[in-house]
Assembly symmetry: C2
Amino acid sequence: MGINTVNSGEQIDRQSRILEAALDLLSRHGISGVSMRAVAREAGVALGLVNYYFDDKMSLVRAALHSVDEHDLRLVAPDPSLAPDEQLRKALHRVAGAELLTTRYLSLRLHLWALAQAHEDFALINAAAFDRYLDGLAALVSNANPALPPEECRDRAADIVVVQNGMWLTALLGIDKAAIQRSIARTEQIAFAPPRDN
Amino acid sequence: MGINTVNSGEQIDRQSRILEAALDLLSRHGISGVSMRAVAREAGVALGLVNYYFDDKMSLVRAALHSVDEHDLRLVAPDPSLAPDEQLRKALHRVAGAELLTTRYLSLRLHLWALAQAHEDFALINAAAFDRYLDGLAALVSNANPALPPEECRDRAADIVVVQNGMWLTALLGIDKAAIQRSIARTEQIAFAPPRDN
DNA sequence: ACATTTCTTGAACAACTGTTCAATATGAAG
DNA sequence: CTTCATATTGAACAGTTGTTCAAGAAATGT
């Protein structure tokens, strides 16, 4: 039942090698580039081993989806070492950081979204991850503006996510760095605007 | 060489039936659901006919991409019957209209973007269509604010497209109608803001 | 009537797909 | 060394894939 038996040395456990290979192929060639054989080849492993660690192709892709979702969630995780408004500002700027704006990550996200459109199971997982991301962002907004009522925090988080999704997508088509920067400023405006009057 | 010979009656020309079937399958099941046989079945046509009208599977998908791109361009086409600012406003509101916010169209767009990520040829076509859309939108912005310098029109168009892309994507995950409406208002703010001071 | 071009069909082919499984290797426990 | 669970291999199976092609149907021109 143990995951790995600490394969003393450079050879990392093959299971994560396989998952990594699947992520790579998915981001580069889309789902039709992810065949069990291609994954095995990319991971330097025999075909049978892929089906040993992942029952299905479905399970393999599901694992890929989970790994990206967890990565996303970390973007809005609270960071106790910073002041609340700095936490929020940092989270908003991070989406245009070097690690996030790689084609690999953006492309991966896109393909997973497309997959979610085609398969109900993936759609559910994706929607749940989306909600948790929204919650995390709303919490950051709330901490930074303690006076704001909770429902307005959630509205602002939703508005920010719309712009962020647009940035991710637009960055893939051809990075207009200036437009990205202006959009980040826009998310900051939304986050730190004075309470709305109604 | 003629495209169709006016097949007097209800039976529309099979070529567009095939293209329509491909679009349907693509939006519902993604690219892996678009097999030549599935397209033939969906179009009520023999397998060979698909390869008769479209040399390749590549050609078929390329045709699908073109048809969606043309549909997109029509969104920012000038409408001489309206005042310039009304043209712009209408174009901005149209992206949340009933015809655009159908899962069929959104899903189609998403799958085509994903395809563009995987195949260089599609990426080029997509990027060109994106640029033309940007030009169209910038022209509408310019007509509505004649005092604005051209480069600021293009910047605003780029900013608007970021938000629009975000709306399209977010609508697919679970339509938060209120967030969509607020985002439309945001694109209007961007479009009609006073000239920036610099 | 015939000849000719344009459509339309489905069988055939080779290549690839996901999955299963008996065989073997590996390494730890006794 | 033997025992045993775990890890790893590649061949084999039944389906599906894109593409080709000879055959025929339908329409057109003469």
